[in-house]
């Protein structure tokens, strides 16, 4: 396999312009001849569906939920970055680009990240025009706040519900195209396989989750906007139905998977409280603007927070990183929380929590101001924990939140498999080894509104796409494979539930492929995953039948894919002989315990290619060239 990133020539700032000029165009009148499948209706998929339909393409949009408005983007709280510099702090496209590259620990492509920063301002314009109720200053202009990992205030927000408001904007735009007859929505559909014909992606097979029937859909191009795979850890902040199946199935059909071990652990989540726990809840990182993180200085200190005097508290982030304090990037904040808890200084019932304290901010600004900024977050915290954060400090602990890895794409957001485009969290492209806060919404919408609609035209304009029908043998084969797999799941007839296997997989991944990794641990994990997978196929019980609404069966298929995919993550983690961003291998650290990159050996994207069941996947490296930024050891001191 060769990886051609197709990065245009020329100076960084001119690449996107030049590329848009050099790409072939589809004549406006010809766009209606092309059908495009978009799987997923989150920020990336929703904005892409709307924008493609506005251009004139016929769009078929698929989602797992009962409505496209419910995709997991909706849960994003904090905000969306843009380089508007409304705050006059010296922000610029270049600074946003630089912060994102550096925040990702220099493991992403310069050209892609620069383009992301370039279109960021258009996103804010677009969403505002749609009626997204961003927070405003008293003069009526847009307000900004700061977010982790940067020193300017460039984050736009709508209370603690920014993802919801942006998604509803995209959903509205998409709904308008449904009315116009240009988008057809297929809700409650689970993508089971990608159909490849003549070496190109030409369709998908999906399961109708209401009837259980398998359906075939053909198109001229397929766009995957199916989000990330954090649920491989069982407990994560992702929605319950978030899964890897669509991208993993595409991987098995020939699309390389890049950097699967890059998973982000978010520092501010509500701690785990019991075995029955089904998911974790994130508290927006924006809380770190005003909340101070601390633990008692003495290990094993059992006193309630209010009884620990000021001088016996360790505000460890402020102490270790005076320049950034509580606003260090997520990976740094998470790892430090783990370190202090491992030292026995953790608080709460389990000892796996640290305080996030608003006492100073409440004294400084008053309750009203804090309530305006974080009211709904405080409410949510109280609802879940039964404690009032205006009175006692919050307790938080890191949790898996986002996956930077994803299907490999070139500058056009296309896989090596022609006709397969991958956008949003589902691709690997912009966040390197660590994503900065408020950058996921930016990337999803950049891909969907502004990048994909242009680059997909370039592909379609090249021509050579024969008409295909869903009775083609390739569709038949894909449907047969999917049906056989469903039958196999139902036929195991074992004694353990799907969730039980999933929970165990999650424990293995969290322990050995989580915040801190070692070669021995990863090797051990690989064996454990293989054993668990074998046990699953011998011992799982899936009640109900195939041709019906069967939520156990849905879950079983997703967990079966996680059980294969987990091994790929571990393999990727072992093969990356360095620490970078969120990937922290204990063998590679600085004297101060920070991640130590190896730019000689590991300045690359690791792209894995499926080689068949029971065979080692094939690793191909895409070297990363940095012509515009100087590679530095990240420092937030």
């Amino acid at each position: 396999m060769t990886l051609n990133a197709r990065v245009p020539d020329g100076p960084l700032a001119e690449k996107w312009d030049r590329h848009r000029f050099e790409m072939k165009l589809v004549n406006p009148a010809n766009k209606r001849r092309f059908d495009i499948i978009v799987v997923g209706t989150g920020l990336a998929g929703g904005s892409a569906s709307a924008s493609l339909a506005e251009l004139g393409y016929n769009v078929k949009a698929f989602c797992i939920q009962d409505s496209p408005r419910r995709a997991h983007s909706i849960a994003a709280q904090g905000g969306i970055n843009a380089a508007k510099d409304y705050t006059n702090e010296g922000d610029s496209i270049w600074r946003l680009f630089y912060d994102t590259i550096k925040g990702g620990d220099f493991r992403s492509r310069e050209a892609n990240v620069y383009r992301l920063a370039q279109v960021s301002n258009h996103i804010i314009d677009q969403c505002t025009a749609q009626g997204v109720p961003f927070a405003r200053e008293y003069g009526g202009l847009l307000a900004n706040r700061s977010f982790g990992g940067v020193q300017v205030q460039r984050t736009f927000y709508a209370r603690g519900q920014t993802g919801q408001q942006l998604l509803l904007g995209a959903y509205g735009a998409m709904s308008r195209q449904v009315k116009a007859g240009k988008v057809t929505v297929y809700p409650r559909r689970d993508m089971l396989d990608l159909v490849v014909m003549g070496g190109r992606a030409r369709g998908i097979v999906v399961r109708n989750l209401v009837t259980g029937r398998i359906e075939r859909h053909a198109a001229h191009a397929v766009v995957l906007a199916t989000g990330g795979y954090a649920n491989v850890y069982f407990l994560s902040t992702n929605a319950m139905s978030s899964n890897v199946s669509a991208t993993y199935r595409a991987y098995r059909r020939g699309a390389p998977f890049a950097n699967p071990c890059f998973t982000q652990i978010h520092p501010t989540c509500i701690p785990v409280h019991g075995d029955y726990q089904s998911k974790l809840t994130l508290m927006s990182e924006s809380l770190r603007n005003d909340g101070r993180i601390w633990v008692p200085q003495t290990p094993g200190d059992q006193r309630p927070a209010s009884q620990v005097p000021e001088e016996e508290r360790d505000y460890y982030l402020e102490r270790k990183y005076p320049a950034f304090g509580n606003l260090v990037p997520r990976d740094v904040a998470s790892r430090n929380a783990k370190t202090v808890c491992d030292e026995g200084k953790g608080v709460g019932e389990t000892g796996y929590a640290v305080y996030l304290d608003f006492a100073d901010a409440l004294r400084r600004e008053g309750r009203e101001s804090i309530e305006r900024k974080y009211g709904n977050l405080f409410q949510m915290y109280e609802r879940i924990t039964g404690e009032n954060p205006y009175e006692t400090p919050m307790m938080i602990y890191p949790a898996v939140h986002y996956t930077m890895g994803g299907l490999w794409v070139d500058y056009n957001l296309m896989s090596t498999l022609p006709g397969l485009f991958v956008i949003g969290e589902a691709n690997f492209s912009d966040h390197g080894a660590n994503r900065l806060g408020a950058s996921a919404l930016m990337q999803g919408l950049a891909d969907g509104y502004f990048i994909l609609p242009v680059t997909i035209g370039g592909y379609l304009a090249e021509g050579g796409l024969a008409e295909v029908a869903v009775d083609d043998p390739a569709f038949e084969q894909a449907e047969e494979d999917a049906a056989a797999r469903i039958k196999r799941l139902l036929d195991v007839g074992g004694r353990r539930t799907v969730d039980d296997f999933h929970r165990e997989l999650g424990r293995i991944m969290w322990e050995y492929c989580g915040m801190s990794r070692t070669d021995e641990g990863l090797t051990k994990a690989r064996g454990l995953i293989q054993d668990l997978r074998a046990a699953f196929w011998q011992g799982v019980t899936v009640p109900g039948s195939a041709p019906s609404f069967n939520q156990s069966l849905e879950k079983a298929g997703r967990v079966a894919d996680f059980l294969e995919f987990a091994e790929l993550m571990v393999l990727d983690a072992v093969s990356r002989c360095e620490s970078c961003g969120c990937h922290f291998n204990e063998a590679y650290q600085t004297e101060e315990g920070e991640a130590r990159r190896d730019d000689e050996k590991c300045r690359h994207v690791a792209a894995w290619e499926w080689a068949g069941d029971g065979r080692e996947p094939i690793l191909t490296l895409e070297p990363l060239e940095f012509e515009n930024v100087e590679l530095k050891q990240r420092s937030y001191k």
Partner: protein, 253 residues
Amino acid sequence: MSRTIHLTLKVWRQEGAEGKGRLETYEARDISTDMSFLEMLDVVNERLTLEGKEPIAFDHDCREGICGMCGAVVNGRPHGPEKGTTLCQLHMRHFQDGDTLVIEPWRSRAFPVVRDLVVDRGALDKIIQAGGYVSVNTGSAPEANSLPVPEETAELAMDAAACIGCGACVAACPNAAAMLFIGAKVSHLALLPQGRPEAADRVRAMTLEMDRLGFGACSNHKECEAECPKEISISHIARLNREFFKSGFFSRK
């Protein structure tokens, strides 16, 4: 601190839209009060599965109270007894040992039952498709700060825009009206200058679509406001009515 409680559940079971439903009784033993309501159902479902029975079907996704996917009527109240709370954010600490809980799906002609507690809320999407948006193509937006919006107005619009589209307002209403749902969207967009050009057509199109889909009419019971997990005020229904009245003068249609 967490306690352990025992509950009796009477749960609506129905195989499909055409099937005849019935309440079935299950014992939910050893339930930690730290669990969410849906985690309690998970535990019951795990036990049913191991007994070789089919688990209770219920919709859910984010479990953070924002996606709007979950919802059931618990002891006659949509999303259960806590104010301003979705079912996924309702915690078992609000129940007592020995309680009996009757759990049913949303009831409305416009929301056919899919299975057990799962209903089809596609009608809400259809209402939005009728006009619940600002018509602006990608790429044609002006600079964001070219259009100032008073902070107070933006906040009021945000109050309305917080709707999660769960359908509890419809389930709570004796008439199964969707007025709070529509009111929230109409109000959000009518308050903002971006939404004004289409305000008259929007309110008419959405209201007509609501009628067509079999939702009832509003007769000011205010049950919707009481049960809305996002506590959206019925003042937005008042604004909807004003907008509808005005549209008689301003709509081109």
